[in-house]
Symmetry: C2
Subunit: 313 residues, 2 copies
């Protein structure tokens, strides 16, 4: 549904608030991967572990860098041997709330996602069996896997690597943004411009795709990012309607996850918002409106997880 602007323009604060929901403390936890302290701790080690890459120096944290909003802030990811991939690195912050992973949604869950980058030639370029064998060499990992997966006779295996990483990722959430505080009743948490921006966001129709706790419908929509030849969801489904369609990204922390779009082609948030209005909704923002929407998007920056680097063996 694309809502037309005038139809929804209302003055009722409660109406706008009800369009959104504050970020829950945790994303949904799958029944077959309960979250335990041991798994989270192990997952954190693996997330920062460069020795499961073939060069020995690239870890998940290389591209999903905690110092850079858990992304890399370059247009397209740079991985093994400095090769540039074709897509922008999304943040892993709040990724547990997405119902489809990757720009093309080719994995449904964080568990399904986690092994991809280890093996991918342009990312960590490591044979999975070798990665598992490498981990088995370390007594510390043998202990941590045994503690995290006490029912498994041979706990160090690829599935458990994925389960542990996914459990850690589910802790990487950013609660208490100004917007969350506002939604919980703290009127002063947003500036007037931010409130105006929130109203525009609803009235113009952004919330038709950017909705739910992380402002993403986890669905696919055609978008023509400058310079992108990526066929997006089509690569997965082969369905003509999916050609150049991308999964709606989260807008939480979008102010710190520049550059924007599937190929990182746009650095400026004003421009990204302008293009969304134009292409997705046929709406041309004025400069003043752009400032307000961008101010609103800044209110979506939450508290970063306080992660200290693990002590690896």
């Amino acid at each position: 549904m694309v809502l037309s602007a005038p139809a929804l323009a209302q003055d009722d604060d409660a109406f706008y608030r009800d369009m959104f929901e504050p970020l829950p403390a945790l994303p949904p936890i799958p029944a077959d991967n309960s979250m335990t302290r041991e798994k989270i701790e192990l997952g954190k080690m693996l997330f920062f572990e460069p020795r499961i890459s073939s060069s020995g120096v690239i870890s998940c944290a290389t591209c999903h860098n905690p110092a850079l909003g858990w992304t890399d802030r370059i247009p397209r990811a740079v991985g093994h041997l400095g090769q540039e991939g074709s897509r922008n690195t999304p943040t892993v912050l709040n990724a547990g709330f997405l119902e489809a992973q990757f720009w093309d949604g080719r994995e449904a869950t964080l568990e399904g996602q986690a092994l991809g980058p280890i093996a991918a030639d342009v990312e960590m370029a490591m044979d999975l069996d070798q990665a598992v064998a490498r981990l088995q060499e370390f007594e510390t990992y043998r202990e941590h896997f045994a503690a995290a997966f006490p029912d498994d006779a041979e706990p160090i295996n690829a599935d458990n690597v994925a389960q542990a990483i996914a459990s850690f990722e589910r802790t990487l959430n950013t609660p208490n943004s100004p917007f969350d505080r506002y939604l919980r009743g703290d009127e002063g948490a947003l500036t007037e411009d931010q409130i105006a921006g929130m109203r525009l966001f609803v009235d113009v129709g952004c919330a038709s795709c950017h909705n739910g706790p992380v402002l993403s419908d986890s669905n696919y929509h055609v978008f023509d990012a400058p310079g992108s030849e990526d066929e997006g969801r089509f690569v997965v489904t082969g369905d003509e309607a999916d050609r150049f369609a991308f999964r709606t990204p989260t807008l939480r922390n979008v102010a710190v996850t520049y550059p924007y779009f599937n190929n990182g082609s746009v650095e400026d948030l004003h421009q990204a918002v302008y293009m969304m209005g134009d292409q997705m909704l046929g709406y041309e923002f004025t400069d003043g409106e752009l400032d307000q929407v961008v101010a609103f998007l800044h209110a979506l920056t939450g508290e970063m997880p306080a992660i200290t680097p693990p002590a690896l063996p």
Copy 2:
């Protein structure tokens, strides 16, 4: 001076203790780079900043990784475009206590050292002017440089980058190792094996080169690491006596900074110690002695600095 084993074998604990000194809280601070909170904070940002590399993904912390004892735990460093350098990455922990930086001592100070890796083709491969220009683009950096260098009209320059990084590095010390506690009078801080290892370390003559607060004389000694063709200090001085001579590395945290030697050719600490005895002192350790010396070296692992990744702009 190389002390022969029997000459020094004594039973007096105080004698052995007096051969060493606990790690001071801070290394010497140069008169022209006073340590301020603002410089340290800025230096931390720069240490973790990948956008001053030409690929945009390599920072000091890539090779001096806090999760890996502030080194990379691979034989030879891997940098720009996955190129392998020829030398093992030393830890930056306690580097402020060394009077010569790099395996060949080609820089005397951390300030002199800091810009090298940014520009080095196999490390970050970035033109220094470009690195400075990149930093100038960020308002956050403009503010931080101005706060750290309030007397400078144009505070964002290469010298100040070096000063800030060096100031941060001087905070990366590892006090309170079991050995430090022992030296301060806590008899129980070392096991019997570790005390025996400490005595051997003195009696056999290791302390003739590995002395002072970080167990390094910051001086050069010829050593033939397996497979190394590196001419070491000779490259700097052109002096025949310096061919294949390397600066004595710190032994603090040596248990967590494997692999060993200038080319990272030895993974096992027992073997490294055996080779030191053999080549440097003509002394052949028994297996039991090796265990004791290695146990002692494990007592040199101190408290890691509790660093959280900075929030970069």
